[in-house]
Amino acid sequence: MIQQPHELDVRPILRNGGEPFQAIMQAVSGLKPGQGLRLLATFRPEPLFRVMEGRGFTSKASEIDGGDWEVLFTPKAAAEPAVDVSTNAEMPQLWPDPETSLDLTDLDPPEPMVRILAATEQMEPGRVLFALLSREPLFLFPELTRRHHQWVGSFDDAGEAYRLLIRVGTKTENSDG
């Protein structure tokens, strides 16, 4: 899934003699899975490159008008298995811990889809469900979106189980607006 990189301009902070490191790190931790960061600074921020590499980002710096620098930090895709995110998912890293967990790895499709939808119907809006499946439930995704639930999913490192987090849609999101 291709996302626009988050843009952060630290030139005002630098011109005022401030220290932008904290603002940058705050922006980094707010990135969605797979999202990059576009940073604008008054100099080439060499030390930051190593810090970001440690966090799994590659950097590409280029000089722009007025001697300023633009750096694009892109998450390394190959290192981590791809994460699927519903278009309506907002800040999955801020979701509460799952209140329900389902291990559906032994069930034949489409039974996992049936169980998950049955469980979400019983849950309060805003609550989170965790499910473990043997395959990515491709036909479930559109149905979750139709019911205004948000979801994030990925295969585990061995590629044998699919992990799915679902946040049940709230009442306001439910009113087809």
Binding site: P110, R135, F139, F141, E143, T145
Partner: protein, 448 residues
Amino acid sequence: MPGAALSRWTITYFAVALLFLFLGETMMVAGVGFPSAPLRAPETLMLVHIITIGWLTLLFLGALLQFVPVLVGRSLRAERLALPALLLIVIGLVCLEGGFAALAGVVSLHTHDLAVGAGALFLGILIAVTIIGLTLWQARPLTVPARFVAIGIGCLVATATLGGTFALELSGINENEIFSRLVLNGLPIHAVLGLGGWMSFTAIGVSYRLLMMFMLSPDSAARVSRAVLWIGAGALMLVAGGIAFIIAFAAPLNASLTIAGIFAIVVVGLYASDVVRIYRRRVRKTVELNSSASVGAYGALVASALLLTVLYFDHGDNAIAALIYAFVFGWLTGLGLAQLYKIIPFLTWLECYGPVLGKSATPRVQDLVREKDASVWFVIYYASVAAGTICILLAQANLFRSACLIQFLASIVIVAQYVRARRLADVAPALQLPAGTRRPNLFLSRSS
């Protein structure tokens, strides 16, 4: 966003395709085409194109509209073009049939219909290929099953292009030296790219993924499926290369067809061994009817490989026709009917009950069908195809028509099961239509 939604037009493609299957089988029972007429007679061409375009190509395109998104985990692109593609293909096919009938002198139509039909067909196929191609394109690098499909649709375009040049030449609209060289020598290439490249490659690719999904088998033997892919692609390149040879030298490149034939036998052997492995290593204990009924199709594929070796020693029309008949009705049609037995109930279930899952009690997918009623008819179907193949080999035209009658009856009973599934006829009345659901249409899915 990842995910696979219900394809709006797939059921329509299937319904139209099944009508063409019935039409083709009626023609065979009535004695239209080989062996009652010569192999290259316009009557045989009418029959062959009703089956290969009307039935198989529409079946495969309909299936791809639904399953390419599953293969690549992305939603279908340009879905609104699916209906125009279907209409153009059907109109083109009807015109093409009119042109063949004119060639046969059956009707006093103009042979120009051939060119008009081929033009509409080509455009319709190009549109359908665009939908599938765009959907595949967004998922590069492609997985092995998706690569099979990519090569398959490439062969479809090549087959349609070659067929288009035949139509222009035969209709008398555009006669030139290159086209007449192709008409004289290119027929085997047109047939091999269509049946082997387009249909078989696509069927192999989709079946790899479907078999593993339905039986929960591990997808680890990637080496074998890769070998099937590359050796098969090599064989198809050899065959397609023959087109350039014909244009340049006005003679068929028989050696390339022979080598491609050897490759094809290796591919069938590898694929069959891989299928056996998938069935053996399945996690799901019970084999559902769609998977068990597919075994007959794999048997027919292996039998076709044997008939291909017969063809090396006997170039006679009966050997060629027996191979094509066993391949088209045993392998491609058998696999198609068997997989539809799962696909139609599943799509119907998803369309009807998907929106209310978890909100009310719903039937399971397997509650939409009665496997016991259908399984015996798959046995009868394959037995009739085996008998028909033997009749062709022994040049028994009337016995062949009897075998076709049994094949036709078996097809009708199997298709009646699809209709029952679509009408929810076998679902317990209490579960049939929970609040918020509507009975599905026979020919059209409701987009939700």
